[in-house]
């Protein structure tokens, strides 16, 4: 077990939590940052993603968040500047959510829609700004099943800390519970709740 560097960034104003995290990750492989607000949470998570770290985040009972950043072995940190977003308008609005209500992207032609959703997920998996949560319902759940063409991209996103919620009712309807290959079975409370508090919500 590698030593863990703990940064208590509670009570600090933006961009201090990001500055401290950046300094800590330069000399430690494993950093835990404790923050007390959504702005700092989103900024530290974005910084971690940008630096190529594995990012895991947990909400504590005291209203604080613990964010664990783990550097990938032998990975050099990129040198580009990271600009934290300190304005409340962009940072305090809740998670970035992508909703897949179908196993295709757009409507009109199913074959084309299936191609587009694959290209979309490949791109999302490769870009630094990852969603916080991805939600799959109705035929969207077919994307997380064993035979899905996009499983590799979704697994990569899950490994990067993206939460993948799959509609349990839908799995049940398609009799596909045993084929679920990525994500967790969720319910309408979590799905409706996450969508309701989303800062940004994309429905490709």
């Amino acid at each position: 077990m590698k030593p863990i560097k703990i940064i208590n960034a509670t009570g600090l104003a933006c961009p201090q939590p990001v500055v401290l995290t950046r300094q800590a990750i330069e000399s430690n492989d494993y950093v835990r940052v404790i923050v007390d607000n959504d702005t700092a949470l989103e900024n530290v998570k974005r910084l971690g993603a940008k630096l190529g770290c594995n990012v895991k985040c947990e909400a504590g009972a005291d209203g604080n968040y613990e964010i664990d950043l783990t550097r990938k072995p032998d990975a050099a940190l990129p040198k580009e500047d990271f600009v934290p977003s300190c304005t409340t308008a962009t940072a305090q609005t809740g998670p970035f959510v992508i909703v897949f209500s179908e196993d295709k992207m757009g409507r009109g032609n199913d074959e084309l829609g299936a191609v587009l959703v694959r290209a979309f997920l490949h791109t999302i998996a490769g870009q630094p700004e990852k969603p916080d949560v991805m939600i799959f319902y109705n035929t969207g759940v077919k994307l997380v099943l064993r035979e899905s063409e996009v499983l590799d991209d979704l697994k990569e996103l899950a490994a990067a800390g993206v939460e993948i919620l799959v509609c349990g009712t839908c799995l049940n309807y398609f009799e596909a519970n045993d084929k679920l290959s990525v994500g967790i079975v969720s319910n309408m409370y979590d799905i409706a709740g996450t969508m309701s508090k989303a800062g940004r919500l994309i429905n490709p």
Binding site: D74, A75, A76, P78, K79, V115, R118, A119, H122
Partner: protein, 86 residues
Amino acid sequence: MSSLIDYYVMLFKAVSYALKAEKILKAEGLPHKLIPVPRQVSSDCGVCLRFESALQDDIRAALAGKVEIEEIRRLVHWVTHGSGKN
């Protein structure tokens, strides 16, 4: 310190060619991935097939005479970098 991922992308004149090629490669069990045409190759919104460099000959052979290939491009992708440049 960088590691290099060496891929090739196969470009087609139309999306339907890419889909046809994919069907053939699937049937032959040749690993590949359908991806958007990389930005550095073209700014058009298109899809192409990406595969590992070692598979180039097998893939060309599987598609020969069945699907018209527009171009095959090498796609070098540095996953990490120690220099300040991207």
